[in-house]
Symmetry: C2
Subunit: 146 residues, 2 copies
Amino acid sequence: MDTYHHLLLAADFSEHSDRVTRRAQDLAQKYQAEISVLHVVENLPIADAAYGPVIPFDADLTDQLIEAATKRLADLADGMSIPENRRWIEVGSPKNEIVRIAKEKNVDLIVLGSHGRHGLALLLGSTAASVIHRAHCDVLAVRMRE
Amino acid sequence: MDTYHHLLLAADFSEHSDRVTRRAQDLAQKYQAEISVLHVVENLPIADAAYGPVIPFDADLTDQLIEAATKRLADLADGMSIPENRRWIEVGSPKNEIVRIAKEKNVDLIVLGSHGRHGLALLLGSTAASVIHRAHCDVLAVRMRE
C-alpha cells in the first residue's frame, strides 16, 4: 500500500479546530509523513446595498488580516514543530487555494475540518466538499463538534 | 488524541476501488480498529420518455442486483477477513444509507472513493461530498485515479 508522504493541514482557526490539528499530527506520526500547514485569508465580497456585491480591494484591511493570520499560524506551527518553510498563508478562496497548494507541494493527504451543514448552508456547499471534488489527492474531513 | 475504533468501508465496486479498500485496511490496522463494509444497491429512477422519470418498483431486478452485490461483497469481505456480521447490503440512496448505517453502528471513520468531477458532474455533486455534509463522524475520501 502506498503510504502518505506529505500531509497538508488546512487550518481555519475556527472554534474546535484543535481536533483537526491533532488528527493531522497523529496521522503524520503514524505514516512518518511530513506535515505542512496552510491558512487562507478569505477575500469575501462585501455586500453593497446600492450596487450589489463588490469585490473589496482594501489593501489595509487585507494586510491586517494577513498579519493576524501569520501570528496565529506561527503559534500553531510552533506547537506542532512545523518548520517555517512549510507554513503558508494565501489570500483568496479557501477551496481554490487549498487545492492549488496541495498540488504544487505534492501533498498526498489534505486534512481539514468539516462543519455541519443544514438548510441554506447545505445548498451553498462547503469548503470540504469543494476540496474533495477538485483535489488530486485524498482528503480527510474531520467532523467539528458544534 | 481519540483513536478510531470502528471504520466503515463504503464499497462501490467501481474500477480502481481497490485503492479505497487497501487504504481502509491500512488505517484499520494502524488504529487497531474494527472494520465493517457496506454496499448500497442504488434505486435509480428509470427515465421514461413518455411519462418522465418514474421510480421503478421492479422486485425481480432489485433481487438480482442484491444477489450480485452480495456475492461481490462476500468476495471482498472474505479477502479482508471481515466477519459476516459486519457486512451490510442496503437498497436506496448511497449517501443516505452510508450516513444512516455509520450512525447506527457507531462508526467513527467512513472511508469511501471520490471520483473526479468536472462540468455537469461537478454541479450535480457526489456521494462523497454529500456524506461529508451529513455524517456525524470523520470521512476519508480516497481519490480514484481515472
